[in-house]
């Protein structure tokens, strides 16, 4: 996937977490790192705490957290886990 084309279409990323549990905190840190290093200004990130907004999780059929959901040109992809494995995350999102 070439990054220049991606610039025109922003990635809409949603990260579902559960409060301040260790893996939620880790997922946010890992994701921010990936985003700042790999593709700046090419994304829109929303962090959704399912404790505060359980309905969002239900609507999106989120079963576990952390789940990262990415919408790009109509295709939705999801990654489960603390996003510590950068290659894996990027490859699932179709960025690698």
């Amino acid at each position: 996937m070439d990054k220049k084309r991606a610039c025109k279409h922003k990635y809409v990323l949603k990260l579902y977490v559960t409060g301040q549990t260790p893996n939620s905190v880790r997922a946010i840190e890992n994701l921010n790192k990936i985003l700042s290093e790999e593709f700046k200004d090419m994304h829109e990130l929303k962090i959704i705490d399912i404790l505060e907004n359980p309905q969002f999780a239900m609507d999106a059929k989120i079963l576990v957290t952390p789940t990262l959901s990415s919408a790009f040109r109509g295709s939705i992809k999801r990654v489960v886990g603390d996003l510590g494995n950068r290659e894996k995350v990027l490859s699932v999102l179709g960025l690698f």
């Binding site: 977490v17 559960t18 399912i50 957290t65 999801r78 990654v79 886990g81 510590g84 494995n85």
Partner: protein, 527 residues
């Protein structure tokens, strides 16, 4: 030839039969292995799901269904997500039905499912483990804080006592007019000062006690305590304050009482705390009665007054810390609000109970119990503690056991009661020869045991010979009735003679070092 042919025909027939059996068996094996696999998936308490490389669920076992609270048809085709891990475990959270957060451990491996690359995800519920860990951390944290608090109170109390003693000393010197005459007003002020120094001293002592109890550092010294003696001693401390309010202070006790196994200083503290309160909350011309009653397995002591009493709603708070139900009541110097709390802790430390019965305006009755242990329990506990102490301090522990050399003959001749009497007399005799409070004499079955904590072997022999002299003198007195009784005694020492309590007792019982005391033969033999 024929035979051979037949043989080969038979063999080939057998062969084909075997193949068909093998085929059927194979089917069976296949069926049964399918059944086994199904069982493993269905009955596995861990959740198992398979997702394709878009993260959509294409297989789920019943455990996974119940984890997520979804039926099979809801879970299949569900956009679960692709696990961003490979082999290693990761933790996930799940929102449980009760709104709490559950914790799952997830492992994922890449597999091929319906010829497409997929992920097998194993899910293990570790909510309880994480919760237990969290609780343990909390408890540890609290314990650390408590410990800090106790150390702080301990240090502060200690540091406060030293200057307090100096202040009191110099105020007393001023009151004694050592530096020069003081006028009436000055004397009044100094007296108030001294009263408050005493009060502060009591508070500090109470705080020290509480912090020691909290830190479980209060040394539990136990020996046989004459409870009536302790009660008498405690009451005598209050003659003046009871007299000032014209309060009658009485002690009721039965004639024979077993000793309790406790620390006489602490039992005194329990009594004085209760009597102090009773006098404080009883108006002039009132009555305070201390009563001691034997129970089955304990001794019951009560302090009863006809004072202001306690309202029912305050009874439970009474033994709490810093509790003073009515600060205006009682008059006189204010307490610390720690007295009853300490009293309760002390009673419990020695295995007793404390409670209160009271009616507002009619009076209160505080009752506490102290267990009466049988001599066997005390004996074992005392020896074990003695040895433990000796190990801790690097010192020694000795025991002396006095017994009959010819018990059966004596028992047959004299009977149960006189034998018991001899043992009681021996116990008394031995007690009189001992000089330290920590030494203890116990009548134990047909023996009299003398326990000597912190006593070396050679010193134990000195004690032994003193006892021998006393016992000889006793039998000399009783030789008319007790002729023929043979007494022996043995001495054993930890760590010189024995390494543990059993060995120690055995060694002392063996009485290898024993010296028989032979008093004139039985009367029957004289006849």
């Amino acid at each position: 030839m024929v035979k051979i042919r037949r043989g080969s025909q038979k063999r080939s027939a057998r062969k084909s039969k075997l193949t068909s059996v093998n085929f059927k068996d194979g089917e069976k094996v296949l069926q049964s292995s399918q059944y086994h696999l199904r069982t493993i998936f269905d009955k596995n308490p861990d959740g198992m799901i398979v997702v394709d490389n878009k993260g959509v669920v294409c297989f789920a076992n019943p455990a996974a269904e119940s984890f997520f609270g979804l039926k099979k048809n809801q879970l299949l085709k569900h956009p679960f997500g692709v696990p961003a891990i490979d082999g290693e475990a990761t933790e996930l959270n799940i929102l449980q039905k009760d709104g709490k957060t559950g914790t799952l451990q997830m492992r994922a491996v890449q597999i091929e499912w319906d010829k497409k690359p997929s992920h097998l995800i194993l899910i293990h519920d570790i909510t309880m483990i994480r919760e237990a860990e969290r609780l343990r951390c909390e408890v540890d944290e609290r314990r650390k804080l408590d410990q800090l608090k106790d150390e702080f109170i301990g240090t502060v109390s200690h540091e406060l006592r030293t200057p307090l003693a100096t202040i009191k000393e110099f105020v007393s010197i001023l009151l004694d007019e050592v530096p020069g005459k003081i006028n009436v007003e000055q004397r009044d002020y100094l007296n108030i000062t001294r009263g408050n120094i005493d009060r502060l001293g009591r508070i500090v002592t109470d705080l020290l006690d509480i912090s020691k109890i909290e830190a479980k550092k209060m040394a539990i010294r136990k020996s046989l305590v004459d409870i009536v003696g302790v009660a008498k001693g405690s009451i005598s401390l209050f003659k003046a304050s009871a007299g000032a309010k014209n309060i009658t202070l009485k002690l009721l006790f039965p004639e024979r009482l077993p000793d309790v196994y406790a620390d006489s200083d602490r039992v005194t503290q329990i009594f004085t705390n209760l009597i102090h309160n009773a006098i404080k909350f009883t108006p002039s011309n009132g009555k305070v009665t201390v009563e001691i009653k034997p129970g089955k397995k304990e001794i019951e002591c009560s302090v009863k007054d006809n004072g202001i009493g306690i309202a029912p709603e305050n009874k439970d708070k009474l033994f709490g810390r810093f509790m003073q139900i009515d600060r205006s009541a009682g008059g006189g110097p204010k307490g610390t609000g720690l007295g009853l709390s300490i009293t309760k802790e002390l009673v419990q430390m020695y295995g007793g109970k404390i409670w209160v019965e009271s009616e507002l305006d009619k009076g209160s009755k505080f009752t506490f119990t102290l267990p009466v242990l049988n001599s066997q329990t005390i004996f074992k506990e005392y020896i074990n503690n003695g040895i433990k102490d000796a190990v801790d301090k690097g010192s020694a522990f000795s025991i002396v056991i006095i017994s009959f050399n010819n018990f059966k003959a004596v028992f047959k001749k004299l009977g149960k009661e006189p034998v018991n009497q001899i043992l009681s007399d021996l116990e008394e005799t031995a007690k009189k020869t001992l000089r330290r409070v920590t030494d203890m004499v116990l009548k134990y079955k047909e023996e009299v045991v003398i326990l000597l904590p912190d006593v070396k072997r050679e010193d134990a022999f000195a004690v032994g010979s003193r006892i021998e002299d006393a016992v000889r003198a006793y039998f000399e007195q009783k030789k008319d009735s007790l002729g023929g009784v043979k007494i022996k005694y043995g001495i054993a020492n930890f760590p010189d003679d024995a390494g543990n309590s059993e060995e120690l007792i055995k060694k002392a019982r063996d009485g290898r070092e024993s010296i028989s005391i032979k008093v004139s033969p039985f009367k029957s033999k004289q006849r």
